[in-house]
Symmetry: none
Subunit: 254 residues, 2 copies
């Protein structure tokens, strides 16, 4: 689904950043890395080590002599830069960029481009782009590590692609069946009855305690199994309390 999206790194100096960028891409389903005139030797043991298993990305990586050469057959080229330029491009946040990318026809070749570690993209390089993407940062520290910037952009693209596909992100439904309202109400009645019996509740003295308990359990969104567990506990309490005496029938002054 993300086959048309490419990450281009220009003039990268540190091999560790190339490896880490490959790993960042792989975690987010991006497999197309392009190195434009890399200053670091490629491939190398250090790159492979830092890629930490993203070998398929490294094997698939293409190297070009220049940025201009690299983007020749691309349809959409988006440059990353924190700075505002003299001739500003349309600026997108990382999230807007991801939505923009996912809204394109999958037949379009799309590049998201990262400049050097030291100074980012030059004005000349940005002039070859159709859009500029900016990762929002604290004004105190605007410079992300190169691979960290790739990670954030790749993450946003992956999340947007999942949303676009309406593919469920593989995260939901980590709970069992939630209790129905009816099951909850039965539990609450059982709870109230038991707490009255053990005289923890006294509705004359304090009407607020029981609503505070139901609020707490409501907030937890109980599963059916948990309601059953809690009702089992209430039964045990009642039994325990009744073995010594019978709490209600007779002679209670209350």
């Amino acid at each position: 689904m993300l086959d048309n999206i490419h990450i281009i790194l220009i003039n990268t100096t540190h091999p560790g950043n190339i490896g880490a960028a490959a790993r960042a891409m792989k975690t987010m389903g991006l497999n197309n890395l392009i190195l434009a005139n890399p200053y670091a030797k490629f491939p190398s043991a250090e790159i492979t080590a830092r890629a930490a298993g993203a070998d398929s990305v490294l094997e698939n990586t293409k190297v070009f002599a220049s940025f201009a050469e690299a983007i020749k057959d691309f349809n959409v080229v988006i440059g990353t830069s924190a700075e505002e330029r003299r001739l500003p491009l349309q600026r997108l946040t990382a999230r807007e960029c991801a939505e923009f990318v996912c809204a394109q026809n999958p037949a379009e070749k799309i590049a998201i481009v990262f400049g050097t570690e030291r100074s980012g993209m030059s004005n000349e390089e940005l002039a070859l782009c159709q859009r500029q993407v900016v990762i929002p940062t604290s004004p105190d520290c605007t410079s992300l590590n190169l691979a960290a910037a790739v990670q954030v952009i790749a993450y946003e693209v992956f999340v947007a692609a999942c949303a676009a596909e309406r593919a469920e992100m593989p995260i939901k439904a980590a709970h069992d069946r939630l209790a129905t309202s009816a099951e909850l109400q039965q539990f609450y009645e059982h709870l109230e009855q038991t707490l009255l019996e053990i005289e923890f509740l006294n509705p004359v003295v304090d009407k607020k305690i029981f609503p505070r308990l139901t609020r707490l359990f409501n907030r937890a969104c109980l599963e059916t199994g948990e309601v059953n567990l809690l009702r089992g506990l209430l039964k045990a309490l009642r039994k325990n309390s009744q073995t010594g005496c019978h709490p209600r029938e007779s002679g209670d002054p209350g």
Copy 2:
């Protein structure tokens, strides 16, 4: 605006990851780093080098002997883990986690926790958390570098905080002060002791019941007042169980 949010790294091995995590935090306006029993020496030249200017975060970093010790006075503890667990917590995506964090009262101390490079957080560590956060990833490669994971979470928190500020959301956290981890642990000990006494728990027969109860209460994010209310209930149960009948002095036939 993000002063109440802390990043906790447990048993981190590689100094470079600590430095890179500090830099990732600083770019996103997060200044509170905690190291729980770090395996790497702290501070060190390598950590400072990789922090690349995030010195203020390193100077502010606190080191604790254990994770449990580190979170004692925290109100909300969120564990990062890709895996589904036997007793799953409520799972949030990174974005949902950021919105959840920004919706809390700024007086609450909030921790977002990252496990070891090799294996992430243990089941025991996750059991001390109220929520689990998952960074969506490609199924082909689910393991982000530690500092890259910190970067993504910090980025989402920063973006959510900016959105919250821009919208000047007037409605914060409709709850009282949340309980600290220490208050929760004391409650759980009290609960376990009481349930053993009334013989609802039998650790020989079923080890799973008690963890299911703590999981439920963790999910609810209990307020201090609710913990006190529940402990009052436990006291009433114990008294009731010890006298063999209800606790009042007067005229009861039991």
